[in-house]
Amino acid sequence: MSVIRAAEIKIADAKKNGLIKGPVHLGVGQEAIAVGVSKNLQDTDRIFGAHRSHSHILGVDNDLHKLFAEVLGKNTGFSSGMGGSMHLVSKSKGFLGSVPIVAGTVPLALGAGLASKLQKSGDIAISYLGDGATEEGVFHESLNFARVSNIPILFVVENNLFSSHMHMSLRQPSNTINRFAKAHKIESKLVDGNDVIEIYKTSSEFIRKMRLKPEPYLIEAITYRWFGHVDWRDDIDVGVERSKKDLLNWKKRDPIKRLSDAMINKKIWTKEKQITLDSKIKELIEENWEKATTDDFPNKESLLDNVYKYD
């Protein structure tokens, strides 16, 4: 979690300083979800993300250099510099793509799960999506199809209560979405998205069951993003002022500090160790960032490459 946090803070700073060209959607505050889920995954599982997916990919592939290179548009990045922050891939770790069309990857993850079932591979599909994405019809179609066809997919809904500038209460009759799982008879659990242990336990139980018997599950993790919808500001959110009070309250529920404090309380961790860890991470970040900045951009001549697999 600390690595993901530090990486995103670095990206926020770089964006602020004009070093990153494309948009970046930061998930600072939401790290516990991907970390808790990813601990249960293997390289052959099939993971799909969306626009806010730095944590999702780092959860299974912690190659900071590749992430930094990608957001900087360098050819050493996760997507060879062709994607930027919004289009990430790590094939070898089962991360098969994140893209910015809301809910765009939900049915793809479904198909990945279906393929796994047909292939009898025992692998599962993970579909990361936001609360906003549950408003797209295709999400509901996917739940239904997943249920009737018993597809091994875990829908992980990161409910941060916002879809860009719009609070959940302006968009849905309820602030939680797990009712949709119930309607489709999909086993689900509403969890504290800022509690990495709870997320880990719930996902590990679901995933264990899915590997034994292909079936869909859904986790709704309630959380909050510390930055605005896009880019580095936390004071305004795509033009709309957010409540500072809410933000401060949510910062008190920082998933990293909670874990660290709990471990210190239980005497399995110390403040000193935390400080050492943080400074090590800082070094790691700087080292990888430096490396990424010196990398090359994609070759100018490659514009038309990979439109098709046959040239």
């Binding site: 060209k21 494309g22 948009p23 548009g73 510099g81 062709m82 994607g83 930027g84 919004m86 289009h87 893209v99 910015p100 069309i101 809301v102 809910a103 765009g104 906003g132 994405a133 408003e135 797209e136 019809g137 295709v138 879809s163 860009s164 500038h165 719009m166 302006l170 968009r171 849905q172 795509v238 033009g239 709309v240 951009f297 994609p298 070759n299 100018k300 490659s302 514009l303 038309l304 439109v307």
Partner: protein, 331 residues
């Protein structure tokens, strides 16, 4: 008198079109994402929710398919809805309502019903936004009989064609372009114009080559033609304005005069609007009229790249147009 006139930007002109419609037609309402945020649609809808109320200016859930369908349905029942998609890419979830339903509602029922919906969508590209946040899909929609496709280039048209689109009894896709938002003009007083009387417009007179654009590509055509003037080449520039149904008459007359044709399009090459314009001209002129073969400048046939290195090559600009003309045309 002119010194008193205030220049209006393209985006403010759109806003004033909305304002006029909402003020004068109680059947008009607007729905779509970002309507309560100044961020999604620039200032093209600024404060309309405050002025006309959140019942008529509805910021919606992330449900393009249902919201577009709802707009189509409301239009069948006497309302004049405007559904707004802050990017064309997002409205692909709504293709059924647009292509299967709205486009055909009048035809399928012998003209007894019609769907006078306006689908306003924005081309919003550049800035490394990449393949799913950059598309200009006007040619696609222009392929569908039953929907009119409108692409304003001037600030006047941005306002007036919005009004014509909303008052039109047919479904209309009205496409504005973020890259035009800062363009300014002295706006004429509003005059309601039936959309079926709107045809491609000559925006610069010339006699050596006809250059056709639509939306932002008209701006490129105009800029290029100004540079050509310095080289002593006098281009006539046309702005398509309405892509479907496409009326080629004015352009045809122009080409008969200039004997050269170049079409610039902000979409892809294959099966694109540029092909349509060229074909409609070529099939209607006597053989050997043209001094040079007709040509098109479009996007290369590949998705919008995210990389800044590629973005520069991907989008046409006036330099590239001048180079192209020097290479392929003989004056």
């Amino acid at each position: 008198m002119f010194t008193n006139m205030i220049k209006t930007t393209y985006s403010d002109a759109i806003l004033s079109g909305f304002d006029y419609l909402l003020e004068n037609y109680s059947e008009v309402f607007v729905l779509g994402q970002g309507l309560w945020s100044p961020w999604y649609v620039g200032n093209t809808m600024k404060n309309l929710d405050k002025k006309y109320g959140k019942e008529r200016i509805i910021d919606t859930p992330v449900s393009e398919s249902a919201c577009t369908g709802a707009a189509v349905g409301a239009s069948i029942c006497g309302m004049k809805p405007i559904i707004v998609h802050p990017r064309m890419d997002f409205m692909l979830y709504a293709m059924d309502s647009i292509v299967n339903q709205a486009a055909k509602w009048s035809y399928m029922f012998g003209g007894q019903l019609n769907a006078p919906v306006t689908i306003r969508c924005i081309i919003n590209r550049g800035g490394s936004q990449g393949a799913q946040h950059s598309q200009a899909l006007h040619s696609w929609f222009a392929h569908i009989p039953g929907i009119r496709v409108v692409m304003p280039f001037t600030a006047d048209d941005a306002r007036d064609l919005l009004i014509s689109s909303v008052l039109c009894p047919d479904p209309v896709i009205y496409i504005d372009d973020r890259w035009l938002y800062e363009q300014t003009a002295n706006l004429n007083p509003i005059k309601e114009t039936p959309l079926d009387s709107v045809t491609p417009k000559c925006i610069k007179k010339g006699d050596q080559i006809t250059i056709v654009g639509s939306g932002y590509s008209t701006l490129l055509a105009l800029r290029a033609s100004n540079k050509l003037n310095c080289n002593g080449i006098c281009a006539e520039v046309f702005d398509l304005r309405v892509l479907n149904p496409f009326n080629s008459k004015n352009i045809l007359d122009s080409v008969l005069k200039t004997k050269r044709l170049l079409v610039i399009d902000s979409g892809w090459k294959t099966c694109g609007m540029a092909s349509e314009v060229i074909t409609s001209i070529v099939e209607n002129i006597p053989t050997n009229t043209l001094i040079d073969p007709p040509r098109r400048i479009t996007l290369p046939d590949c998705p919008a790249p995210s990389s800044e290195v590629h973005e520069k090559d991907y989008y046409p600009d006036e330099e590239k147009i001048i180079k192209f003309i020097n290479k392929f045309y003989c004056f």
